[in-house]
Symmetry: C2
Subunit: 302 residues, 2 copies
Amino acid sequence: MGLEVLIVGSGSALPTISANQTSQVITCGNQSFLVDCGEGTQVQLRKNKVKIQNINHVFISHLHGDHFFGLVGLLSTMHLLGRRADLQIHGPKGLDEIVEIQFRNAGNNLYFNMLFNTVEKPGLILYEDNKVIIKSIPLKHRIPCFGFHFQEKKGLRKLDGHKLVQHDIPIYARKSIAEGLDFRNDEGLVIKNSELTFDPVSPTSYAFCSDTAYSEKLIPFIKNVDLLYHEATFLESERDRAKKTFHSTAKDAASIALQANAGKLILGHFSNRYKNKDGFLQESRPVFKNTFVAQEGEVFKI
Amino acid sequence: MGLEVLIVGSGSALPTISANQTSQVITCGNQSFLVDCGEGTQVQLRKNKVKIQNINHVFISHLHGDHFFGLVGLLSTMHLLGRRADLQIHGPKGLDEIVEIQFRNAGNNLYFNMLFNTVEKPGLILYEDNKVIIKSIPLKHRIPCFGFHFQEKKGLRKLDGHKLVQHDIPIYARKSIAEGLDFRNDEGLVIKNSELTFDPVSPTSYAFCSDTAYSEKLIPFIKNVDLLYHEATFLESERDRAKKTFHSTAKDAASIALQANAGKLILGHFSNRYKNKDGFLQESRPVFKNTFVAQEGEVFKI
């Protein structure tokens, strides 16, 4: 099936006409997960034709405004458009209070339940269904901050239609064969599963690492990830500023991708001092060749 | 001198790609006042080339999100761009708590002081300098809500250069003549002020009436205003919905403009069910001819 990552916003603290604040939509089958939600995200979601009522889980990495100032507006719009389904909001301690105080003052009783799940530790399972499992990643920032790791689960084996006919396999047995079991017929003859099925598509994985200083602590949590998004707010010329503000350079991100044995790296959260993003690729690719720059509206299929 | 009104956003609760939430910039000389601040306002201010650090007073009409969800992001940007000057924020009870909780969680100590002024009564003087006086207007909405009335003060009289020479008026006397006093020379001869000066430009006035049901109570507070902005969320076909939600129709707004003897009426806060705004003019103009529709980016000079 594969995960898909839509870049909704790729800018950093100062939103401009051409750079929106951090937000991404991760799609897995018919589930859409929203990750971070800077100011103006709801309009960008509209622009990218994302169905907001299909989002049932929102993940907020930390409480710097460029990662959540758009959340309360999005919730308000979900309410006005008649949402009834529960919405789970995974984020740092304090987010529930910030959201609730605003609705309380507006005199609004939301039509739907907001269920807050406080993320306080790395490696926590935040969400799991039969297709995907989502865990927290430790990041190193000025305030508590977590990334999110999406791991697809292994899908069912693909049935080989010709072989099913050839061996006269009854319909009732197909489910267990897809699940990987061998088939035993009425005469006790065993037909090996590998004879009847193809391997399923390999499950894919994605890691979202917003706002972090260079930190090798996160590597075990993203080892062998297929696609890694890692912030790169600055270039090497601003290394001191990166250190002071607990942000990364493009080279830092590349080094993490290399050590984690990632398949592909996307850089984002660019300081708006950089009008042209070529420098990020120039500094990252010598360390980690398969690097790309987050472009708003772009979809990365894994 | 005259007041100028920039329409930053003219939409209502649901922001879209083409309709931003309520916000206006009122300019009086070199002072800029921000009135309401829906989500995304800071980017619209950028788009309209408004210098945000020139804004020293923000007025928030009420605590429905489409009128203030952009405030905390704007404050954050003012901080990041190095603001040091105090910022006065006039708005409803509760706004200070909402703003402060967000900066507290972000671990940010702002470089500038936010001074909150709670607006709890109509007719209050919220701001006054030698050019303008700003007062609260009572509105009728689901939660406490106030409009804002901007009244320019009478400027200095214009000196008639020829007459000053002719009567040999010394320089030291000019200030008091501009202020309207007669001149008495060393021989005791009085020269009437009207002989030496022209009338100043008439002071102008503007009233901002966001979110309100039809309410005659506000008329005394906006009597003879030169330019009136009055919300018109709906057309007559949605009168029941207007009543239920404490909003106005175009006809309601026109009736208020007529009774207040306003010079000109701007309608705004349109429900996004109306793609075309012609209906608003068709329903307002038979009652109050001098009606216009708020267009984002438009400047009304009074």
